[in-house]
C-alpha cells in the first residue's frame, strides 16, 4: 500500500514538474535537469509495468537496478548544469571550479585504483547498491566542492537554480547515507530501503516549489574594471593579508 502510494505520488509529481518546466520554458534553460526528471518518470513507468505484468522479482530487480544505474549517469548532467548556469557570469570562479573539480576527480580516481589493486574482486562482488552508493558519493564530493566555491565567492543564485541545487544536494546527501550505511540484509536494510523511496516525493516537492515559474539568475551589476587585472588584485590582497598578520602579531606580542 505504502509502495503504491510512493509510486503514484512520484509519477504525479514528476509529471507536474515536467508540465510546469515546459510551460514556463524552464526546460530549455535547464535541459539536463528536465532530461533527468523525464528519465526518472520513464524509469518509474517501466518498473511499474514490469512489476505488474511479469510477477517475477528477478525481472523487476534487474530492470530496477539497470535503470537506476543509467539514472545515476544521467544525473551527472545536473552537476555539470549547476556549474554551467551558476558560473556563466563568473569566469574567475568557473576556472577555480574546473581546477578544483579536476583535482577532486584525480584524487577519487587514485583512491579507486588503489582500492581495486588492494581488492581486485570488488567489481564482481560489489552489489548494485554498493556501486550506486559509490557513484552518488563521487557526485556528493563534486557538489561539496561547487557549494564551497559558491559560498566563498558569494556567487548569487536565482530561485530556480537554488531550488535545483538544494533539492539535488539533499537527495545526494540522503542517497549517500542510505546506500552506504545500509547493511546487505536485515531489518535496518529494509527500513532504510523504504525510507530511501519514501522521501523521494519530498525531494520532488522541493524542486516543484522553486521551479513553478521562471526567475532569472541575479546577474552581477558591477563588471570588473579593466585596470583591475587579476595580478594587481592578488598582489594587493596578499599585501593586505601580510599587513593583517603583522598587525595581529604586533598587537599580541607587545
Amino acid at each position: 500500500m505504502l509502495g503504491q502510494a510512493i509510486w503514484w505520488s512520484s509519477i504525479a509529481l514528476e509529471s507536474l514538474l515536467l508540465f510546469r518546466g515546459f510551460r514556463g520554458r524552464l526546460a530549455s534553460r535547464y535541459p539536463a535537469f528536465y532530461f533527468y526528471i523525464s528519465f526518472v518518470l520513464f524509469q518509474d513507468v517501466v518498473c511499474f509495468a514490469v512489476a505488474r505484468w511479469t510477477h517475477s522479482s528477478d525481472a523487476y530487480t534487474s530492470a530496477y537496478w539497470t535503470a537506476e544505474f543509467l539514472c545515476v549517469l544521467v544525473s551527472c548532467g545536473i552537476v555539470f548544469e549547476i556549474y554551467r548556469v551558476g558560473l556563466a557570469a563568473f569566469p574567475g570562479t568557473a576556472r577555480m571550479a574546473r581546477n578544483l573539480m579536476g583535482l577532486v576527480f584525480v584524487v577519487v580516481l587514485i583512491k579507486l585504483i588503489v582500492n581495486i589493486v588492494k581488492d581486485p574482486q570488488w567489481w564482481t562482488e560489489a552489489s548494485a547498491r554498493g556501486v550506486e552508493g559509490t557513484l552518488r558519493a563521487i557526485q556528493g564530493v563534486a557538489i561539496v566542492a561547487l557549494i564551497a566555491l559558491f559560498i566563498f565567492y558569494s556567487v548569487p543564485f536565482g530561485r530556480n537554480l537554488r531550488g535545483i541545487l538544494m533539492g539535488y544536494g539533499l537527495f545526494v546527501c540522503w542517497s549517500v547515507f542510505c546506500l552506504t550505511l545500509a547493511p546487505p540484509t536485515g531489518r535496518l536494510h529494509d527500513i532504510l530501503g523504504v525510507l530511501y523511496s519514501a522521501l523521494y516525493p519530498l525531494f520532488l516537492v522541493l524542486w516543484l516549489v522553486p521551479l513553478w515559474s521562471y526567475q532569472a539568475n541575479a546577474a552581477p551589476k558591477r563588471a570588473i574594471q579593466l585596470e583591475q587585472d587579476y595580478q594587481r588584485v592578488a598582489i594587493a590582497t596578499q599585501r593586505r593579508l601580510h599587513e593583517a598578520r603583522s598587525y595581529v602579531a604586533r598587537a599580541v606580542g607587545s
Binding site: 574567475g92 570488488w122 557549494i147 588584485v233 592578488a234 593579508l241 606580542g253
Partner: protein, 184 residues
C-alpha cells in the same frame, strides 16, 4: 568501496554546506546588488582602533599598575573590562580580514586570468589568519589578554629559534653539498 565513516563525513559536510548556502542566500544576493561603492579600496584601513590603544590591550603595564593598588575589586573589574576590550578587538580584526577576502573574491570572480595556485595561496593565508583569530578568542576567554600576550611572546621567541635552527641546518647542508660537488 566507500566506507561508513567516509560516507557519514561526506553526507554531514554536504548537509552543513547546504544549510550554510540556504542561510547565506539572501546575504549573497544583497552583496551582488549593492551600489557602485569602490570594490577594491587599497587604502581601506585595517586598524579598527588607534595603534597606541591596541598595543596596550595585551600588554601587562596596566595590569601591573592595577596590581599595585592591592584592591581586589579593582583588579577583578580591570580583568573583566580588559577581556571584553580584547574580545571586541579580535572580532573587529577578524571582520576586517574577512572584508579583505570578500573584496578580493568579488573583484576576481569575474576575472578571466585568475591563477589557481595564487588563489590557493591566498585562501591558505586567509585560513591561517582566521585560525589565529579563533585561537586568540579561545585563549582570551580561557586565560585573559595579559597571559595571551605572554604566550604570544613565548611563541614568537620559539618560532625565531626554530627559524634560526632551520637557517643553520640549511647553511650546513648547503655547505656539505658544495663540499661534495667540489670533491667530485
Amino acid at each position: 568501496m566507500i566506507g561508513n565513516p567516509t560516507a557519514l563525513l561526506l553526507g554531514s559536510v554536504l548537509f552543513l554546506l547546504l544549510l550554510l548556502l540556504a542561510r547565506r542566500g539572501a546575504a549573497a544576493r544583497e552583496i551582488s546588488s549593492r551600489s557602485d561603492v569602490p570594490l577594491f579600496d587599497d587604502e581601506a584601513s585595517l586598524d579598527p582602533c588607534p595603534p597606541e590603544f591596541v598595543t596596550r590591550i595585551f600588554s601587562s603595564i596596566d595590569w601591573d599598575f592595577v596590581t599595585c593598588t592591592k584592591s581586589r575589586e579593582l583588579q577583578k573589574l580591570f580583568r573583566r573590562e580588559r577581556k571584553l576590550v580584547a574580545l571586541v578587538w579580535v572580532h573587529q580584526t577578524s571582520r576586517a580580514i574577512r572584508r579583505i577576502m570578500r573584496e578580493h573574491t568579488e573583484a576576481t570572480r569575474q576575472s578571466h586570468d585568475l591563477h589557481f595556485a595564487t588563489e590557493i595561496k591566498l585562501v591558505a593565508m586567509y585560513a591561517e589568519l582566521m585560525l589565529i583569530c579563533g585561537m586568540l578568542l579561545l585563549a582570551i576567554q580561557s586565560a585573559g589578554p595579559q597571559r595571551v600576550g605572554g604566550l604570544a611572546g613565548y611563541a614568537q621567541t620559539l618560532s625565531q629559534r626554530l627559524a634560526q635552527a632551520q637557517q643553520d641546518f640549511k647553511v650546513v647542508t648547503t655547505g656539505r653539498h658544495f663540499h661534495r660537488a667540489g670533491s667530485a
